[in-house]
Chain length 144, copies 2
C-alpha cells in the first residue's frame, strides 16, 4: 500500500448546505450524481450522503457523535490567517469549538466544526514547511 | 481558505498497535511526543490519542461509533491491487467491511476498517487520473 490518501469523503446530511458552507469559504466544487468533488492539492475532498457513505462502507451509522475520531487540519502561512479563517468559517455557519490560542509547539491554532460536525483545525505551525502549492512536509524529528 | 487539507489525524486508542498496523502495510512514520507522523504525498497522516485529540478539538467523545462519518480512500493503479491491499490489510489486523466488487462507476473497490475503526476504501477507478507521484485529479464532470 503506497503511503498516501487519494480522497477524504465527508458524510453529510444535507448536500446543498454542506456544499454552500465550503463554497462560502472560497472552495469551488463540482456536483455529479449527488456527490460534490473538490480538488484539494493532489487529493479530492468529497461530500456525500452520510447514510449512503455508511452503507457503502458496510458500516452501521449510529448518528453523528460529538467527536468522530478524525480531525482534518488546514495549515496557513501566517498567524493572522488563523483568526481570519476561523471568522470566515463562523460566518459561513461553522461552530468554533476551540478558539485560537498559542500551541505547545510554538504555533497558533483553533478548531471549528462544519455543519455536519466534521472537525477542522486551522493552524499556523512554523515547524511544518508549507510550499507555495500548499503541500506540507513533515520535518525530521529527533524521533523513533 | 485555500482549497486543501494539510493533515488528517486519526484518533487511536493504542498508538503502538495503530503504528504497527500502518507499518505492516508498508508505511514508514516518525514518532515524536506520542504522535506518529506519516508523510503522505503533500499532506501528513497523523496518529494521536483519540482522547487527547477530542479534547484538543474541544469536543466530547462518546466513543468509537460504527461509522465515524468520514471515509478515506486509497486509489490504486490496477484492479488486482485492490485485492492485494485488502488481503494485506486483513493480515495486518484490519476488518474487511465490504469485500471488493465492481462499482457503478466502472471501477472495482472494497473497504476495510483499521484497528480503531477508521474506514478506508481501496479503489481502482479508471475515471480518476492517478499520477506517478500518487496524486489524483478529479475529472471534469458534466456537472453543476
Amino acid at each position: 500500500m503506497e503511503q498516501r490518501i487519494s480522497l477524504v469523503t465527508l458524510g453529510v446530511t444535507d448536500l446543498s448546505r454542506a456544499r454552500r458552507f465550503y463554497e462560502e469559504l472560497g472552495w469551488r466544487g463540482q456536483e455529479f450524481e449527488e456527490t460534490v468533488f473538490f480538488q484539494a492539492g493532489g487529493i479530492a475532498v468529497v461530500l456525500w450522503s452520510r447514510e449512503t457513505l455508511a452503507a457503502d462502507c458496510g458500516l452501521n451509522d449510529r448518528g453523528a457523535p460529538g467527536f468522530a475520531g478524525v480531525a482534518l487540519a488546514h495549515n496557513v502561512r501566517h498567524r493572522a490567517e488563523v483568526d481570519e479563517v476561523l471568522a470566515s468559517a463562523e460566518r459561513a455557519g461553522a461552530t468554533v469549538t476551540r478558539p485560537a490560542r498559542a500551541t505547545p509547539y510554538g504555533g497558533y491554532a483553533g478548531v471549528f466544526t462544519d455543519p455536519d460536525g466534521h472537525a477542522w483545525e486551522v493552524a499556523h505551525n512554523p515547524g511544518f514547511a508549507l510550499a507555495p502549492d500548499g503541500s506540507i512536509t513533515v520535518p525530521t524529528f529527533d524521533a523513533s
